[in-house]
Amino acid sequence: MSSSDHRDNAALPPPPAGEGWGEGVSTSDTPQEERALSRIASDDAIRPPPQAGEVKTARGQTLRKLVTALPVAITLAAAPAHAFIAYVSNEKSNTVSVIDTDSWTVTKTIKVGQRPRGIDFTRDGKFVMVAVGDDDTIQVIDAKTQAVVDSLPSGPDPELFAQDAAGKVLYVANENDNTVTVIDLEKRARLGDIQVGVEPEGMTISPDGKTLINTSETTNMAHFIDTSSRQIVANVLVDARPRFAEFKHDSSEVWVSSEIGGTVSVIDPNKHEVIGKVTFEIPGLRKEAIQPVGIGMTKDDKTAFVALGPANRIAVVDVASRKVTKYLLVGQRVWHMAFTPDEKYLLSTNGVSNDVSVIDVAAQKVIKTIQVGELPWGITIAP
């Protein structure tokens, strides 16, 4: 699925002559300072990344160095210890934006296949896999050269995928033919298919690697699949259009978001039963606009973040009580999210406003907005 919700655009006034719809369309409910930030960020994005052999100092001066002998040292100097690299798939642009989390700028834009959506690092951190649905494949980007180097036999219209703990087996949701395709990552070979419900989408694997969860959007189920036998062991009915599934790190619960149902179902993975639901209510916002998609859970399993699509907000949820404690205003049509490995920051893709919001996890505040390509969809951060 995955829809590109263009509806919010419909209400914008026609653009003034000479200005396009693309980047820089300001959003009606993005706070003023955030918009200013996004402008600055987009300026930065236009500027080319530092050339090899140039290093920026803190004061912004550019020093020319003798580098030919020491490329590794230069890389380290350019990227302080706490900086991470995020990759964002832009569904409409057919590109992947690379974001440096130190400078919070786009350092590179990589051209990929048609309609990139699901995106994830390989476990070893060497490659980024991106599902390019309209090309019926998953492309592989070398994280070092930041170029597409390979593709995987995914089956038709791959959207989201999950990999096992060892990073050897990849499970891909193929929306067009109601299957989950199993791929051997080392041999680049297709191992088989699992028949699931109509429009498979969300994919996640239990921390012990034994259970794969797939959600099907029109069947409205979370399918529990035994990874060793590749058989469905249980089907749990959830609310309409389940998009994303996330395990608690202690394996005690699976959270499944329902985009059209407007809820997150909490499932007991042993009993295969819905044991609770997270509901959302935002004053002044119509109920239909609240469409939960991405879910991110902190490692201590205390706090969950739920992206609410066209509600333009991320809900902060207390995992124990399943109650929303705060709503964070981000860009338009917020879809997926990723934590930095140190869990200091959470990054979200905002499809309609073409940007990525940066959230300070501890402060629970949006601190920055970065312009990326058109309709940013998925995001992954280097381990």
Binding site: S4, D5, D157, T218, H223, L237
Partner: protein, 393 residues
């Protein structure tokens, strides 16, 4: 030894039947009219299986889900010829099918509904857009997945007003349904502050829709027909009968856009709709039916999916149980329109966004932002609860 063998066979038989418990079969009937109507545009000529093709896809979708829930859906199609009694056909269908999708004119829908009331069959009106089926003539055993004329007119009107094209030249056909659509458009203009600067009637004097040198004449007739109009922003045509609407774009005396029955058209669905995951369904539909999906296909698909949604939620194929759930407060269905669709409990009309299409693209989707409502913005389209004359019985 023999006893042991018999025991073993008996045990294995029991085990087999326990494993493969027979799925519950849920019968869905489809009742339509034989033959297709003629349209001005050859590319818009409906296929023989218009409507039922959508129902067929939904049966497949339901059966994929049914594999996991132990439910099996079947579709039985029945077409009646002109003059044939719809009640008899419907009664025969109802023998095996607890749910019937109807693509029938309003009068036939009412006859069938009343005839099947005692039996408890649930009827889905997928074809008739007449207001009266949801108003004075509403029925408790009829659910409407087709939008109404007022919903379509309001969807168009909201966009025209948003666009600030608020002076309308209304051209109305001479058939009854054209007049009904014109009534709906007048109501819309009043509600949203548009002004109908003048009305003209286009008389249907008969004649063929296909001729060998028709374009030459049309090119002369249409400018003349539309000349000397007061200042207007958009020509709004009410021509459900397909007599003149499609002749208007690019041929008006004044260079003005056309909307309504031609030009920018309000519809429940369109083959060009690809947002909100619709592309998956469009692909499935083309694969199954070797053609693109129409609004009527979508209205039938939605009806069958509503049945599937309710049977999986209630884990039952019992018509009464399923009907109660569909009519209840917890029911909603996803139909690739960016929002959940629910029923107006006062008249069993499905709330739904309406697409505004030009034949190649979705231009916009109504309700437009800024048209507010205290319950659901979808209720800014069509007759709202306080205005309704419906008393469900």
């Amino acid at each position: 030894m023999i006893r042991w063998l018999v025991g073993l066979i008996g045990w294995s038989l029991a085990a087999t039947s326990a494993l493969a418990a027979d799925p519950v079969t849920i019968g869905v009937g489809y009742l339509g009219i034989a033959g297709t109507r003629s349209t001005l545009s050859l590319v818009e000529q409906p296929a023989e299986n218009d409507g039922v093709a959508g129902a067929r896809l939904a049966i497949e979708d339901n059966n994929t889900t049914g594999k996991f829930t132990g439910q099996r859906f079947t579709l039985e199609e029945r077409r009646i010829r002109e003059g044939e009694d719809p009640v008899q056909a419907a009664t025969t269908l109802a023998e095996k099918n607890g749910f019937i999708i109807a693509d029938l004119p309003a009068d036939a829908v009412l006859k069938v509904a009343d005839a099947l009331r005692e039996r408890g069959t649930l009827l889905f009106n997928a074809g008739a857009i007449d207001e009266r089926l949801r108003e004075a003539d509403c029925r408790a055993n009829v659910i409407h997945t087709a939008p109404t004329r007022a919903m379509l007119a309001d969807a168009l009107g909201q966009y025209l007003v948003w666009k600030k094209w608020s002076r309308w030249l209304l051209v109305v056909g001479s058939h009854d349904e054209d007049k009904l659509f014109a009534d709906a458009l007048r109501r819309t203009a009043t509600r949203f502050g548009a002004k109908i600067v003048q009305e003209r009637t286009f008389e249907d004097k008969g004649g063929a829709r296909r001729t060998d040198s028709g374009v030459t004449q049309i090119q002369r007739q249409m400018p003349v027909f539309t000349q000397q109009a007061p200042a207007y922003d958009v020509l709004v045509a009410a021509d459900e009968s397909e007599v003149f609407g499609a002749y208007l774009p690019y041929r008006t005396w004044d260079p003005r856009p056309v909307a309504g029955s031609a030009g920018l058209v309000p519809r429940s669905w369109d083959a060009s709709q690809d947002q909100w995951g619709a592309i998956q369904m469009q692909n499935r539909f083309i694969k199954l039916n070797s053609r693109r999906m129409t609004a009527l296909d979508m209205q039938a698909w939605t009806a069958v999916r509503m049945i599937g949604e309710a049977t999986s939620r209630t884990n039952s194929g019992d018509v009464k149980k399923v009907t109660d759930f569909i009519k209840g407060p917890d029911f909603s269905v996803a139909a690739f329109k960016g929002t959940r669709l629910t029923l107006r409990d006062w008249n069993l009309q499905l709330r739904q966004p309406i697409l505004l299409v030009d034949g190649r693209m979705v231009v916009s989707v109504s309700p437009q932002e800024g048209f507010l409502h205290q319950v659901s913005e979808l209720d800014t389209l069509g007759y709202d609860r306080p205005e309704s004359k419906c008393k469900l019985k």
